[in-house]
């Protein structure tokens, strides 16, 4: 999943993934998933799908924190992980 900067998926594409996995409508990406009616097991299923899609590992602590488990919060985690992985990939 070695995407260049230009074809990086956007927040709205990420929202679509959240909507598809969690069967909810994301109107404001900052709304905690729990406030959209997504329970914690469902959030785990979402993070599993996100990890696999982007080839990253997300810190399990993120899942317990409602402020981090909004669509926007998760998207920030994804970008942090992708950024952290870049130098390693470039060197490999």
């Amino acid at each position: 999943m070695n995407q260049s900067q230009s074809d990086q998926p956007t927040q709205s594409q990420f929202d679509q993934l959240v909507e598809q996995v969690c069967a909810v409508t994301v109107t404001d990406p900052e709304t905690p998933l729990v406030d959209l009616g997504v329970d914690s097991l469902h959030t785990i299923a979402l993070v599993m799908a996100v990890e696999e899609r982007y080839g990253i590992e997300i810190d399990p602590e993120v899942i317990g924190d409602p402020s981090l488990t909004s669509s926007a919060g998760l998207w920030r985690s994804v970008q942090d992980q992708l950024a952290a992985a870049l130098p390693a990939r470039a060197g490999s």
Partner: protein
């Protein structure tokens, strides 16, 4: 106690000799089709990310994440159920026990489509219910005769509120009740105020990919639907569900809580994650292909070995796990079990599927878990055992 009776899968081992027995007895799925590496990676991810939740106790509700996965399965047979109608189980066997304990009252009569899955009869008996065969004709459950039977039983003072059936690719016959019959059955159920228990482990395992509209689709308020992941995913996860009218679902949740305290969040989450990633279609197709091939091998071999005009009669099923043979002259098939063991093959005698010793002239062959290359040999052995002179029953003079 019924549990003292040897379970059906164990029973034929009684007569087995050595390790070369080809078993047509136990109804096991072919797990060769499971993508184990994917499942392994997902379980590992699940435990790392959510172990503290997935390994914890949980409430007797189907996890929100699993609801779409269940509805994806149910929709293939024309039905759905919201979370308020769903109750998690550890498989349909637990669902049967929960219905027997939670919905019925000890002493009441449950009508049972026969020949019946022995686990259903055993569960209802354990719940203290009396079993009575549901009337059938050549096309299956017979609504007109059902009216007579129910009225007669009620006139004799019996309480009759439930009818158990396995309408699609029935265990053990492989038969499927037509949609027209399903409508007639439900019309009779409404008239007689009966609830139907629809046990449906095999409905999505047709060989051609076709499905039959579930009873639950036709009248969700008259049907307690038992679903399971045992045959569309794997039985080792012990995960299934009941779809029932909301009021009954509430009762069943309390019953299942008493039975097992908590469903497995781990199993539910693993199934939800699998569905999110891959959906069900590929796995269902892989199972169907496997069973279609095995069934054809078995049916072809049966035709070659037993012919079509001999004493053994059967029909090629359109799906499921089983072929049901019947002896034209009503011979009790228990008599051949020992000869079968001597020839190195096993089956389940029909009497196991009766509720009072009937259907002894049948025998169930399961093709779902036999290596493809062993099926023809197994049928040759079976034919040798079945065409031996009919022995006397053991213990008989």
């Amino acid at each position: 106690m019924w549990t003292d009776i040897r379970p059906e899968v164990e029973m034929p081992r009684l007569f087995e000799r050595g390790g070369d027995v080809i078993s047509f007895a136990g109804g096991l799925p072919d797990l060769d089709v499971l993508p184990l590496e994917t499942i392994s990676a997902q379980l590992s991810r699940l435990v790392r990310l959510g172990g503290k939740l997935a390994l914890q106790y949980t409430t007797p509700h189907v996890a929100g994440a699993l609801v779409p996965a269940i509805n994806d399965l149910m929709a293939r047979e024309g039905t759905t159920a919201g979370a308020d109608r769903l109750v998690p189980t550890g498989g349909s066997q637990m669902g049967l026990m929960a219905v027997g304990l939670g919905i019925a009252a000890p002493g009441e009569t449950v009508l049972v489509q026969t020949p019946a899955y022995p686990g259903a009869a055993a569960a209802f008996r354990t719940a203290g219910l009396t079993l009575h065969p549901a009337p059938e004709d050549a096309d299956g459950l017979d609504a007109a005769a059902l009216r007579e039977t129910v009225l007669r039983l009620r006139a004799a003072g019996r309480t009759v509120r439930l009818l158990y059936c396995n309408p699609t690719f029935q265990n053990p016959t492989g038969a499927t009740l037509s949609v027209a019959r399903r409508h007639e059955l439900l019309a009779a159920a409404r008239e007689l105020d009966l609830l139907l228990i629809e046990d449906n482990p095999y409905g999505l395992l047709s060989f051609d990919g076709e499905t039959t509209t579930a009873l639950h689709a036709l009248d969700p308020d008259r049907v307690i639907y038992l679903g399971t992941f045992s045959k569309v995913f794997a039985p080792g996860l012990r995960c299934g569900w009941i779809a029932a009218p909301e009021q009954l679902a509430r009762t069943l949740r309390r019953t299942t809580e008493i039975m097992s305290l908590s469903p497995s969040a781990l199993a539910q989450a693993a199934l939800a994650a699998f569905h999110t990633r891959a959906g069900w279609s590929d796995l269902l197709d892989a199972y169907r292909t496997s069973y279609k091939e095995r069934c054809a091998l078995m049916a072809d071999a049966l035709e070659a070995e037993l012919g079509t005009d001999g004493p053994w009669q059967w029909e090629r099923p359109g799906g499921g796990f089983y072929i049901w043979l019947r002896h034209r002259d009503g011979v009790d098939t228990t008599r051949f079990a020992e000869a079968a063991a001597e020839h190195g093959v096993s089956y389940v005698p029909g009497s196991h599927f009766g509720i009072d010793g009937e259907h002894a002239d049948g025998l169930r062959l399961c093709f779902s878990n036999v290596a493809r290359g062993r099926i023809a040999e197994g049928v040759t052995r079976l034919a040798a055992a079945l065409s031996a002179p009919v022995p006397a029953l053991r213990g008989a003079a």
